[in-house]
């Protein structure tokens, strides 16, 4: 077992498991940012969904039901954010920070009320492929929601780049005045994008709970939402690179957690901050400005 290939396999599979929740949420945050919202409530969406998924799995006995309700809860947080910031024009950063505090408080409180049991969705492995050397186990033995990424990533890309909804969404994110003049309901598109973002971030949070861990504990997302924002920036507002960013963050964490077992010691503070350092470095090295949505984080109101 203690071969280089074996070690690599360990780190790879661990990295993918750590990256998956980020990847789901990043597919959502990417869409929200293209529509012009720098959404900081991803953390709330993920944490709320993680809690709900375990709670519902406990009630129904079905981890899948939990996963679905998690998605719904994420979408609910997204629509709350959307209504507050793109209907009633409360500053979006404020809404995000407050939602994060609110959901952290509520889930921490509710977690003290019940005593939920452990629930986990099934592990699915792809016959044949799972036996590939090195890559087999990391890529083809996963909890089933991970395979959803295969459909969701192209879907997110298609929605943004190819559909009319996405075209209008991009226009809303780049130049809301022009979009409005053309008859596009800018704030509606932004709310819809947040809804999608919430659903996917919810999926990410729910996957963390009923997929990987099997239980909920206080603040179990521990800042993953902020990491997702970093990933979108790391990716320079391109979906592919955003997902690459998630993979890098996941692998960096996996490496950090596996290194002691492999007999190495590295400063833990340095490694914990690695994803943030990487995102900053990426921004310094690649000029990502060009792809930044022109109206990112700028509210739009019809009457100036």
């Amino acid at each position: 077992m203690n071969t280089v290939a074996g070690d690599l396999e360990t780190i790879l599979s661990s990295g993918i498991r750590l990256a998956a929740p980020l990847a789901f949420a990043a597919c959502g945050e990417y869409v929200a940012e293209r529509a012009g919202t720098l959404n900081v409530s991803v953390e709330a969406m993920m944490l709320g969904a993680a809690f709900c998924s375990i709670a519902v799995a406990g009630l129904t006995g079905s981890a899948t039901a939990g996963l679905l309700v998690g998605v719904l809860l994420g979408a609910l947080v997204g629509s709350a954010h959307g209504a507050l910031s793109h209907r009633w024009h409360v500053n979006s950063f404020v809404v995000g920070l407050l939602l994060n505090a609110l959901v952290l408080g509520l889930t921490s409180y509710l977690a003290t009320v019940g005593n939920p049991s452990r629930h986990q969705v099934e592990l699915v492995s792809v016959p044949g492929l799972r036996d590939l050397p090195v890559l087999g186990a990391p890529l083809f033995v996963e909890r089933w929601p991970v395979y959803l990424l295969l459909a969701l990533v192209p879907l997110a890309w298609w929605l943004v780049e190819r559909s009319r909804w996405g075209l209008e969404l991009r226009a809303a994110g780049e130049n809301p005045e022009a979009a409005h003049m053309t008859g596009i309901r800018v704030n509606l598109r932004r709310r819809q994008a947040l809804l999608w973002c919430g659903a996917l971030a919810g999926l990410g949070g729910a996957y963390l709970a009923v997929g990987e861990v099997g239980s909920f504990n206080q603040n179990m997302t521990a800042g993953r939402g902020y990491l997702v924002i970093a990933a979108v920036i790391f990716g320079g507002w391109r979906l592919g690179r955003t997902l690459a960013g998630c993979a890098v963050f996941g692998l960096a964490d996996a490496l950090r957690l596996a290194l002691p077992a492999l007999g190495h010691t590295v400063n833990s503070q340095l490694l914990i901050s690695a994803p943030y350092l990487l995102a900053l470095l990426a921004m310094l090295l690649f000029t990502t400005r060009q792809r930044r949505p022109g109206a990112l984080a700028q509210p739009f109101r019809r009457t100036p």
């Binding site: 498991r17 977690a111 861990v213 957690l257 077992a261």
Partner: protein, 338 residues
């Protein structure tokens, strides 16, 4: 030039506790006709472990006595002082601190608002004694050394020499715990090695599981999840690989999902319950330190959940040796821990 004289002054605790003061009117110290126990904890008081047990034991005892318990978890270290003051303002008769991380609350005991309160503070010898608080202390070297010994017994039986220690931040007390744990294993398995992984967060289940997974992949046969909220998630994974598992502080031998092989009991709730018993009887003195001795007092202790009689006997003997002073845990750790 350094201002190091500002380091915490050395403890001036008098041994034996004969210099303690008894508060008038115990348990209703403030004489308002009600007994209110205020509990502050730095951690998640629903972690199924260390922090929770402190609160649970206090609540159970207080309920039986008809007292009120106000509990507050996840108190940031830097807000300890304010939180303690607020408890005094609520007319608490006793302020109990869940763990020594919150020792910064102690200065409140000297303030006017807290003039009529009893104080209970657990300590790992890093809290200075003052006349207004009762300290309860144990030596983590003892319980961790014995935890390692117990793990060593089971590792011997399974013929494994590799153990793992998964914990949160890389801090002095986690380092000390891991060193003593290794020393304990080496009492029985001289060539044993210990992998220690710091996830950075006692409560991040996802990362704790990955750290555990990495250790399991390296063939580790015993895992000590020295964690908070993430304990169960990591233990569940270790169960699936049939590794030996230990509890961080409480007795969870009855638990099946996840399951533990060793209960390491340095449960602050047990120490606290003992103090509350004295308190109810009006005999709890301030200004003294109660030091809990493994092998002498009922706690701390270590027990095997499914140990063979032979294993149980060996463990009991080891504990008795420490209690009887035949074995000096600190010396053992120094000898075997590195």
């Amino acid at each position: 030039v350094s201002n190091d004289e500002t380091a915490t002054p050395a403890s001036t605790a008098a041994p034996g506790g004969s210099t303690g003061t008894l508060l008038p009117g115990e348990p209703d110290v403030n004489g308002d006709g009600k007994v209110i126990i205020g509990v502050l904890s730095p951690g998640d008081i629903n972690d199924n472990g260390y922090y929770q047990s402190f609160v649970v034991k206090a609540e159970a005892f207080a309920q039986a006595q008809g007292w009120t318990v106000i509990k507050r978890g996840s108190v940031p270290v830097s807000e300890a002082l304010t939180a303690a003051r607020a408890l005094c303002q609520q007319k608490a008769d006793m302020v109990a601190i869940g763990a020594s991380e919150l020792k910064d609350a102690i200065p409140a005991s000297e303030e006017g608002v807290c003039a009529k309160t009893a104080w209970y503070v657990p300590s790992s010898a890093n809290v200075p004694q003052t006349p207004r608080i009762m300290l309860s202390s144990d030596d983590p070297n003892q319980s961790m050394l014995v935890a390692g010994y117990a793990a060593g017994l089971l590792m011997q039986a399974r013929n494994t020499t590799k153990a793992g220690f998964v914990t949160g931040p890389e801090a002095d007390f986690t380092k000390i715990a891991s060193t003593a744990f290794l020393a304990g294993i080496r009492e029985l398995v001289p060539g044993a090695t210990l992998v220690t992984t710091y996830t950075g967060d006692f409560d991040d289940s996802g990362k704790a599981r990955e750290a555990t997974q990495a250790q399991l992949s390296q063939g580790v046969g015993a895992i000590y999840p020295y964690l908070g909220g993430a304990t169960d998630a990591a233990t569940a994974l270790a169960n699936s690989a049939k590794a030996v598992t230990l509890t961080p502080g409480t007795d969870r031998c009855a638990s099946t999902s996840p399951a533990f092989d060793v209960s390491v009991l340095f449960d602050p709730g047990d120490y606290f319950a003992a103090a509350l018993q004295l308190y109810a009887a009006g005999k709890l003195e301030m200004g003294i330190t109660k030091t809990w001795q493994l092998g002498v007092d009922p706690y701390p202790t270590v027990k095997l959940c499914k140990g063979t009689p032979e294993q149980n006997a060996k463990l009991s003997a080891f504990i008795a040796d420490i209690g009887g002073g035949k074995i000096d845990p600190v010396a053992e750790v120094r000898k075997l821990g590195s």
